[in-house]
């Protein structure tokens, strides 16, 4: 069975003859959280807007559940829930009215439970213009998922949210994924993408420069694993560069720090050495390169792998 929910093939879009997106291709599988990452102007929002049917692509093929967004916008409306990066509701629309309003258009009962979950239950009578930016974004998200669409597209969903709301939103996204809902997420927040996404695509100047699971992408880079060790008698000071796969060694705030290309042999030989010297480990930390570091590496090198 083909579980491809979103298909983007050779998609192109230009504004005033300046290419915003240049022949990108990716697909998103059912129940997957797919992260679309990239610096400002990389083409994330353009891609999402064409998938949402807001804009027409210049070339290539876009499909959501076999629906062409620009040709069949009517069919698309009941398939996707969208939180736009920039949007608004009428200034005088109350939170509860907004929920009833949009649920009425989708023929479902209002989802007040979602408003409660996203911390809006005390604001039901508040008008849209009275809400903070964070609350407006929470409301927008609640409206996007209220009618349980099979595909949810989120453009910077946590921008402007506090830590609590962010955590709640992440939990909600994972819950939606559990229910088999496919999520396409555009974000600047690398930690968020790494935590939530099954796969990510990094866009740079309108092109996909890399695609894969966060782990695959970080593994592809030249990023080194950081091994920090602290012992009782500082036995490692005398060791020099005897450990395998270490490309750099520093001493900082009572820790010996090794940057390793292959952390397994490095760590085991450090432990053996400390034991042989009659010293005792106080602390040992292994930190693999983060998606953020890999992202910065990609953006600094202009996408060169």
């Amino acid at each position: 069975m083909n579980d491809e929910v979103i298909s983007v093939q050779d998609f192109q879009k230009s504004y005033a003859n300046v290419p915003a997106v240049d022949k990108i291709s990716f697909d998103v599988q059912r129940g997957e959280i797919f992260g679309l990452l990239g610096p400002n102007g990389a083409g994330k929002t353009t891609t999402l807007e064409c998938l949402e049917g807001i804009r027409r692509p210049d070339g290539g093929s876009l499909r959501i559940l076999d629906v062409n967004p620009s040709r069949e916008p009517g069919k698309l409306r009941n398939l996707i829930g969208v939180q736009l990066q920039t949007s608004a509701l009428p200034a005088t629309m109350q939170v509860s009215e907004a929920m009833r309003f949009f649920c009425a258009y989708h023929g479902v009962s209002p989802r007040y439970d979602l408003l409660e979950r996203l911390g809006l239950s005390e604001k039901l009578r508040s008008e849209y213009h009275e809400l903070s930016t964070g609350l407006q974004r929470r409301l927008s998200l609640a409206l996007a998922v209220a009618y349980k669409p099979p595909v949810v597209i989120l453009d910077e969903p946590t921008a402007g949210l506090d830590v609590g709301s962010r955590t709640e939103l992440h939990a909600l996204m994972l819950e939606l994924k559990e229910q088999g809902i496919t999520i396409l997420l555009a974000t600047h927040d690398m930690a968020e993408a790494e935590k939530l996404s099954d796969r990510v695509a990094i866009l740079l100047r309108g092109k996909v420069v890399t695609i894969g699971t966060p782990r695959e992408i970080t593994a592809k880079g030249s990023g080194l694993t950081k091994v920090s060790v602290r012992t009782e008698q500082s036995a490692l000071e005398k060791a020099g560069d005897i450990f395998p796969a270490v490309s750099q060694h520093l001493f900082k705030e009572e820790y010996d720090i090794y940057y390793s290309t292959d952390p397994g042999p490095t760590v085991s030989s450090i432990i053996d050495y400390v034991k042989d010297q009659g010293d005792k480990l106080i602390d040992l930390r292994v930190e693999r390169p983060s998606l953020e570091e890999r992202f910065l590496e990609i953006t600094h090198t202009g996408g060169a792998q």
């Binding site: 804009r55 969208v82 736009l84 949007s87 258009y105």
Partner: protein, 269 residues
Amino acid sequence: MKAFVYHFAFEFRSNLRNPELLLLDYLFPLGFYVLMGAVMTQINPTFKDTMVPAMVIFAVMVSTVLGIPSPLVSAREAGVFRSYKINGVPSLSILVIPALSTIFHALITSLIICITAVPLFKGLAPTNWGIFALLTLLIAFSYGSIAALIGVISVTSQSTVLWSQLIFLPSMILGGLMLPVSMLPRSIQPFTFLLPTTHALQAYIGLTYGQNTLIDPMIAVAVLLVSGLLAFGLSVYLFNWDSKNTSRRGHPLMALLALVPYIVSVFLV
């Protein structure tokens, strides 16, 4: 249907919550009506003969021509229509329901005027209230469509003011609301038929008061109906719910087609 009813109810409440629209829907037309009833009837006693239709036209014109375009442009520029569209609200509902709600407010104001003008200011009541009501609906439709068209083609809220005033001010001065068109210089009279107000008043006078008019009242009705339909069709065709969307249908100058019935009517006077 449930969505339509809910949307309409929301827009109706929204107009009451918005001080600017509340002013245009109720305070301004009713305040002006009271002022005209108290002062104008003393200065010019013949004003009582056309007071009811003139003040109804005024109320409808203020609510629609001044009240519909600017919020439409503001909502589009703020991204409200974008949110609507992406959440499944059809374009037709986005355009039509706010206009319908405004028309409904205008009809409430008109009803207040109709009920109070005779006892308060001794205004002359129409002889046929049924036709009066039908004509009011037609006039509200015609003005509402023109107002929606202004909102659709205007790029900014400021430009809506310009277009709206191009209809509102000449209507006030030349449309017969304060002075009968017949009292204007003969050379100017035909040009007053470029205004919906003139046709609306002629239709009321001819069909609900049985008095002589400068144009066949049925022609006035036809002009209002055809121009209303043209303006409505053009509004729907030219409506762009997202100003960031570069691919839009038609050219704003197509809106001038809605004036064709008025231009033709000038030659029929």
